[in-house]
């Protein structure tokens, strides 16, 4: 049973057992506009919560994607190098950025639920 959590930096985390899949939210993808480039982390890289994990660029903006929790990267989405438009087309599905093995599941509890994130975006 997977559940999705959200950060205030507009990343989403889908948890499946010990593994988390991370991407940027639909709201973030819309704010960025047409995504033209994505750099995902290498497999095996150790990420600390809040640390820079990936880069996403539109024509006129560049942003860092942060690790929502501590963990080791188990995969980067290889499809984004050739087709970064996936981030706009399906941000919370095929447009995922990377997967990581969660080091401390308790960190997830601090993240927002879907309802909380929707409320958070409304306030922006």
């Amino acid at each position: 049973m997977s559940e999705t959590r959200y950060t205030d930096q507009h990343e989403w985390v889908r948890v499946d057992g010990d593994e988390a899949t991370v991407g940027i939210t639909k709201y973030a993808a819309e704010q960025l506009g047409d995504v033209v480039f994505v750099e995902v982390p290498e497999t095996g890289r150790n990420l600390g919560k809040g640390g820079e994990a990936a880069v996403v660029e539109s024509v006129k903006a560049a942003s860092e994607v942060y690790a929502p929790v501590d963990g080791d990267v188990t995969a980067g989405n290889p499809a984004l190098a050739d087709d970064p438009a996936k981030v706009n087309a399906d941000p919370e599905g095929e447009g995922w950025f990377f997967k990581l093995k969660i080091a401390d599941k308790s960190q997830l509890e601090k993240l927002m639920t879907a309802a909380q994130y929707a409320e958070f975006v409304k306030g922006l």
Binding site: D34, V36, F37, V59, P84, A85
Partner: protein
């Protein structure tokens, strides 16, 4: 009486023309133009050079084996190609170019003529110094103008552009701190700063600490002072700032950073608003680059070359980079290396090969001599007057976040007047192209939403400004009346419609390749 009834008609006929695509793809004076690589062929050249054969004897094992792949064209073909390309460009010579923060003022042709005198244009940087005393005199004379106008004791001439000047200034500061045995890590940069400021600070190994702006478009001096501490190397302020406003508390901020042992770097991009009226040295500045291509009108040339000399305070002067120019008896002497330094000099290094942008120096000095000190002051005043005139004439039709004025040499608007119209800042600016104008600077500074920064410069007549104001008022009115047609997809009357920047960035094509060759054949 015999008469010729076959003369050509002289009436204009119907003015209404259907939109017929032309056969050639050209439209009257608007020519399409292929890439030079698509025009050329083998075995043709536009330069007659004797065909001399050479042996491999002195080429080591390094003689080129393959062809380069350059196209061959005769001179008339090359001339036509570049003339046609030129006609696809907007230019200050052809119209008002109100790009805020870029200073598109008139480029006098006398300056071009002077830079091409053989005594300036055809001298080598490493000729014996006794054969280039005139070149050194010219640099020395320009140094005198720059230090006098800024009220600063010294100037480093070699930086090649504004950002290069910033780099020079921060490296000078770094060297001065090192000489004091200090390693300071932080530089305070306002949120309204040009992107080059944080980029330069980071390049020099400093941590950028952003200072917010106040509601009225100034640097928040209280916030800045609160951030000061013994680890602050410098503050980096643009004054007049990027909102087009003079910082009223600039001296206080300078004193505050000096009190904690830091330096005041001033981004001099907007010196053209105050030259001849204010000496930055009186404001506590320690280092300031001067964009000769802005304030002193060396041409922008489609994006360079620029020149960015840096004036320095007495505290920083000893650390200026090589080369140095000294008076040595009745001669000028260029010091290019550390072995021959005067006692007090401790240069931090070298910014570039040779001695700076001589060609730009000649143009800038010709501009200064033409204006004189009185003309430079008048030019600054006219630039400020024109910007305030635009602000006063447009603030009711558009929306000016700091509309109470006065502004300095540029007038800042935001997009609140477009709210609910469906027209964006980009649409509004692109519609100006159809009206025959270059758009203003858009979406900068970042502290204002949908920013539009208009810098008319001193080069426009009142008639030209009146016409510009009339057009912008009318455009604002149309946008507010919900007439979106002229904005959507504008420009309609330019050599190109809006270009697909997304496609360009997703799959970059950065060079031409022969279509018959596979891409891997590099």
């Amino acid at each position: 009486m015999p008469m010729n009834a076959q003369g050509r008609p002289s009436a204009p006929g119907s003015a209404k023309q259907p939109e017929i695509p032309t056969i050639s793809g050209d439209r009257g004076l608007d020519h399409e133009e292929a890439l030079i690589f698509e025009l050329g062929r083998e075995g043709v050249t536009g330069v007659d050079i004797p065909d001399v054969q050479v042996s491999d004897k002195r080429l080591g094992n390094s003689r080129r084996r393959g062809r380069i792949g350059l196209p061959g064209l005769s001179e008339p073909e090359v001339v036509r190609h570049y003339v046609r390309l030129s006609r696809m460009n907007y230019a200050i010579d052809s119209g008002l170019y109100p790009l805020g923060s870029c200073t598109m003022k008139h480029n006098p042709r006398l300056n071009e003529k002077m830079a091409r005198l053989p005594g300036f244009g055809d001298v080598h940087p490493l000729q014996p110094q006794q054969t280039v005393q005139g070149a050194l005199q010219l640099i020395s004379e320009l140094m005198r103008w720059l230090t006098t106008l800024t009220g600063m004791p010294a100037v480093a001439m070699s930086p090649k552009a504004g950002a290069h000047g910033e780099l020079c200034g921060l490296l000078t500061i770094r060297a001065a701190l090192e000489a004091r045995g200090e390693k300071r890590t932080r530089i305070l940069v306002p949120s309204s700063a040009h992107g080059t400021n944080p980029a330069t600070a980071a390049l020099c190994g400093f941590r950028v600490d952003e200072v917010p702006a106040t509601e009225d478009g100034h640097v928040d001096a209280d916030a800045l002072e609160a951030k000061l501490g013994p680890d602050v190397a410098a503050i980096m302020l643009t004054n007049p700032n990027t909102c087009g406003l003079f910082e009223p508390r600039v001296k206080e901020m300078a004193d505050a950073v000096h009190a904690v042992g830091g330096y005041f770097y001033c981004d001099g991009a907007n010196f053209n608003a105050i030259a001849g009226r204010v000496k930055p040295g009186d404001l506590g500045v320690d280092a300031m680059h001067i964009n000769l291509h802005k304030t002193f009108s060396t041409p922008h040339g489609g994006g360079g070359p620029g020149a960015g000399p840096v004036v320095l305070s007495a505290a920083l002067a000893p650390y200026a980079p090589l080369p140095l120019l000294l008076q040595d008896g009745d001669r000028l002497r260029l010091i290019e290396e550390r072995g021959a330094l005067p006692a007090e000099a401790k240069p931090f290094g070298r910014m570039c090969a040779f001695h700076g942008q001589m060609g730009m120096f000649v143009r800038a000095l010709a501009y200064m001599l033409s204006h004189g000190a009185d003309g430079i002051r008048q030019a600054s005043e006219d630039a400020v007057l024109s910007a305030n005139f635009i602000l006063a004439s447009l603030k009711d039709a558009m929306s000016a976040p700091f509309g109470d004025g006065p502004c300095m040499h540029e007038a800042l608007f935001d997009d609140s007047f477009l709210e609910g119209t469906g027209v964006t800042t980009l649409d509004f600016a692109k519609a100006m192209i159809d009206e025959g104008y270059h758009p203003m600077t858009m979406y900068f500074p970042l502290v204002v939403h949908g920013a539009m920064l208009i810098e008319p410069t001193e080069s426009e007549s009142k008639e030209s400004l009146d016409r510009f104001i009339h057009v912008l008022r009318a455009l604002a009115k149309e946008a507010n009346a919900g007439k979106r047609e002229r904005f959507e997809g504008a420009p309609h009357y330019a050599p190109r419609h809006r270009l697909d920047e997304t496609a360009a960035a997703r799959k970059p094509i950065l060079r031409w390749r022969r279509p018959d060759l596979p891409q891997a054949a590099e």
